[in-house]
């Protein structure tokens, strides 16, 4: 019963991961991006849960819960912690226009398909086929980092990148050892917190969170 | 007879002969020139009289001049005397431990050049320095020609010992008129003209300070200082003319020691030097002094000849 749905479930989860990623590139509103990030975190958690059930590993279900709480709820909440109204108004004016960005997204996705197919040989497994999505997310996250001007938007890019790695890890090898998974989550959480603090300081020092302003240190 | 002893005798004879001959040669050169130019001239013994006069005067030395003014003329004199000792003029029997190596001879001559230049500087006047500077410039530029012509001459003999070179020429006279030898001799002659401050490089008779080379350096010298400078320069000229004449016409030179041979040697070299002196004097009539800054061209030309001589001797012979 579950085996029949398994490929579809995997497809659904990875599909939504990719979709949220692309949407995040498209949408410029910070609030929308945060919501999409939360959605992505939940999709990731679902993916892990599905794999865990399929492989019959209760450990993975636990991990799925962890991911849900950190990536699906915790981190978005931290990002949106500032008053909703303020966040709502923040509009990205990206350095890359949306058309070019979306074009880049497709190119990066194709690239990750090529790379993963060469590296993994794709194989027959369902997860193997979905693996390129993880890499694509990494690359799209990177694209966001490069093209977004606001501190928080960059953070979102970073988180997406991280989600991508996690996706890839779960799709290719059923996740890394649990201890490492904890460590990674903790690290990510701390990084986000630190960046969040810095973003706060930035606002007080620079009067805004546009990363563009950080041009004082140069040669 | 013992080689060492015969070489000492020959050397002594050469020195005495040339000390006697050099002023005479100068007198002859000046007299010939005067005669051709239609002047009466001072007679061929005038240089002798000049020297005697200078030696009997109180030298006047400038305030602040150093010992160089005294030592320099002596050094020049000694270097010229050494030339007379070392060059095969009367005979080709060299000292055993100092063969008449041309490189050594050139260096000995350079001692005189340096001494003269320092004397010129020591006077502390503009003209002395000017003469010294020009003299050294010419000497520096002549050096390659000199050494390369030595090189060219040394090739047929396989050694740079001038006695051996002259003996080779005596044994096989065809060497003398080979193109290599002719080129080398022409180059050497130009070099010697420059070294001895003759026309067309320097005008020995000039009294216009701005064009002087040799004379400008001796302006501050007087009395016996001047005498040594003058005699030293004459000796150098005489000895070098003797060298050239022995290279062109080696016959008469003593190769095996004997009293008669020595006499013949003395007479032939005296004749050769004096004849060459007359030729020089006549030649100089037709020459004008070139501008100082055209001297390098002349010297470059002579250098080219010498260089051709050397390479030709490798590639032709």
């Amino acid at each position: 019963m579950f085996e029949a749905f398994y490929p579809q479930l995997i497809g659904l989860c990875t599909g939504s991961l990719l979709l949220t990623s692309a949407l995040m590139v498209w949408r410029h509103s910070l609030l929308a991006s945060i919501r999409l990030l939360a959605l992505q975190g939940m999709a990731l958690a679902a993916l892990v849960a599905v794999i865990g059930i399929a492989e019959g590993e209760p450990e993975l279900v636990l991990v799925s819960l962890l991911i849900f709480s950190v990536k699906g709820v915790g981190l978005p909440w931290v990002l949106a912690h500032q008053s909703k109204a303020a966040v709502k108004q923040i509009q990205e004016s990206p350095r890359l226009n949306p058309t070019a960005a979306l074009l880049a997204v497709t190119l990066l996705t194709i690239l990750s398909y090529v790379v993963v197919s060469r590296v993994f040989g794709l194989g027959d497994s369902v997860t193997g086929h979905a693996a390129p999505i993880g890499l694509a997310m990494v690359l799209i996250g990177f694209l966001l980092l490069i093209s977004r001007r606001r501190a928080r938007s960059q953070l979102i890019g970073f988180l997406m990148l991280d989600n991508g790695i996690a996706t890839l890890a779960f799709l290719t090898s059923g996740g890394v050892p649990i201890l490492l998974e904890f460590a990674v989550s903790l690290d990510v959480l701390l990084v986000v917190l630190i960046l969040h603090v810095f973003a706060g300081r930035m606002r007080t020092k620079f009067g805004g969170t546009a990363v563009d302003q950080l041009r004082e240190l140069h040669d | 007879m013992n080689t060492a002893l015969s070489s000492i005798i020959i050397a002594s004879v050469q020195v005495v002969l040339f000390v006697f001959l050099a002023p005479l040669l100068m007198g002859l050169i000046r007299q010939v020139r005067a005669t051709i130019e239609g002047r009466a001239g001072a007679g061929i013994w005038q240089p002798w009289r000049d020297v005697r006069k200078l030696l009997a005067k109180n030298p006047v030395r400038a305030e602040g001049s150093s010992w160089m003014l005294r030592a320099g003329p002596v050094a020049l004199m000694v270097s010229s005397l050494l030339l007379c000792v070392l060059l095969p003029l009367v005979g080709t029997i060299p000292f055993p431990s100092i063969p008449s190596d041309l490189f050594v001879i050139v260096s000995v001559m350079l001692i005189g050049v340096v001494a003269l230049a320092l004397v010129g500087l020591d006077g502390g006047t503009a003209f002395g320095g000017m003469g010294s500077s020009r003299h050294m410039t010419v000497a520096a530029l002549v050096e390659p020609t000199l050494l390369l012509s030595v090189y060219a001459l040394s090739i047929p003999a396989g050694t740079s010992t001038i006695s051996a070179i002259v003996e080779t020429r005596l044994l096989s006279p065809e060497v003398i008129i080979s193109p290599v030898s002719v080129l080398a001799l022409v180059a050497l002659s130009i070099a010697i003209m420059a070294e001895t401050a003759r026309l067309p490089i320097d005008n020995p008779g000039t009294h216009l300070e701005l064009t002087m080379l040799h004379e400008a350096m001796t302006l501050e010298a007087s009395g016996r200082d001047l005498a040594w400078l003058e005699v030293g320069s004459w000796l150098k000229l005489a000895a070098l003319l003797g060298l050239v004449s022995n290279l062109v016409v080696p016959w008469g030179i003593v190769t095996d020691f004997s009293a008669l041979g020595l006499l013949i040697g003395v007479v032939t070299i005296a004749v050769k030097v004096l004849v060459l002196g007359v030729l020089l004097s006549v030649g100089e009539i037709f020459l004008a002094k070139v501008r100082l800054f055209q001297v390098p061209e002349l010297l470059a030309g002579s250098f080219a000849l010498a260089f051709l001589a050397v390479t030709a001797s490798y590639l032709v012979a």
Binding site: V115, R118, V119, F120, G121, L135, V138, F142, L145, A151, Q154, F158, L161, D162, I165, L168, A169, T172, S173, G174, V176, P177, L179, L180, A183, V184, D187, L190, V191, I194, L195, F198, R201, M202, K205, F206, V211, L214, R215, E216, L217, D219 | -
Partner: protein, 482 residues
Amino acid sequence: MSFILWIPLVGPLAFAVLGLLLRGSALCRFVGVAASSAVLVSGLLLVSAALSGYVPDSGGGMLRADALSAYMLTVVGAVGLISTWGGLSSATSSRTRDAAGYEALIALFLAAMSLAVLADSIGLMWAAVEATTIATAFLVGHHRTRRSLEAAWKYVILGSVGVAIALLGIVLIYAASVGTDTPTLSWLLLSQSDLGLDPALITAGGALAVLGFATKSGLAPMHSWLPDAHSQAPAPVSGLMSGVLLSVALYAILRIQSITDLVIGPEFLRTMLSIGGLLSLLVAASLLIRQRDYKRMLAYSSIEHMGLMAIGVAIGPAALPSVLLYIFGHGLIKATLFVISGRILKIEGTPSISDVRALLVRRPGLAVPWLIAMAAIVGFPPFSIFFSEVGIIMAGWSVGLGGIVGAALVLLLVIFAAFTRLTVQMTIGVPSAGTAFTPDYSAHGPRLPIILALATTATIAFVAEPVGTLLLQATAVLGGTN
């Protein structure tokens, strides 16, 4: 014996806690010194263990100290000691609220680096490296100025992204090991030759992991955070980052290399590291020519040295002893230089090279050690960097990387000339006319650590026993039989 493994981890943390408890006391400024001493002592103990052939492990195999780890731990401790001791602030300024936090973070930083070199799991090591970023983020931003904030932001973003790439690589390596019977992330297991890892995965994983760790070790083109962070961090932190953090990342690269070499041979990483090394040298050379800031100058010098070390790593076992000695020499000297630069900055109030002039006449107490350390960093003997550079260049030709090494020499020459020019500008000459001055012979801080660092680097290369043996053993750990 294996409890020693825990000292460098627990010790600093304990001192950090202690420091936080003693907040406001004059004692808390010694937390960093105490923490690094703990690391150094345990490092030396582990070295002696390694020399006697004993490889302690602990925590169910998570921690392990072979010769290489012990060596690196010693370097961490030594450089930490020089940086913290040399950077000891005066007792009055340490009573501020920040001070305790600062010292605690330094201790945390040291613990993280110790964990990175002691971990027997790539994953744990990765986490430790990432932890260094977290620990140093606030240290870089310690001054709370706009500039330090900017530097910290760049550092965290670029560093985390880089390390994330490394994680991607590690995931792939793990995926490769999942393909075999024993899914593992242990160095010890992965660097066994009969594992049958998938070459394609190892290639990709190794490449990504190296690329990621290259960010932390300051190799171009991932180096961009380095000049900013190094120039804005407090001097001891810069010294620590430049002296050991970069090397710890390089250590990670070395470990990764020992895995990939077994599976796919050395060529792939050799090419990659050579390119990275040369690019680093190029970047350092280019930006040193007209450098204006002496702390940035030191930062670019670190990029240069990491570049040369990367070339050494690319060369492989023949150059590894030199690289390891290099790590030590560079660490100590660069820490010294940063410590002195901190004092110059404090006393002169400007980081600009053109504003600091005639230092040798005005402040011989700072200029003389500065010049000696400069001579050491550009590779003059008897300092050990000389031997490392000679060793790397010689080895480079012998493995057929003559072209790379030759190009490196050209760039090194440019770097040397630029470096000399900048140093001369700062130190040599007389102050402009009219400025009265009296020569200042004060060192403006503890002299002993500087003397110790210089003396150690000057003599270590001549200590054939036991340093030579240790270097050989450490190389052997990496699969080199040289």
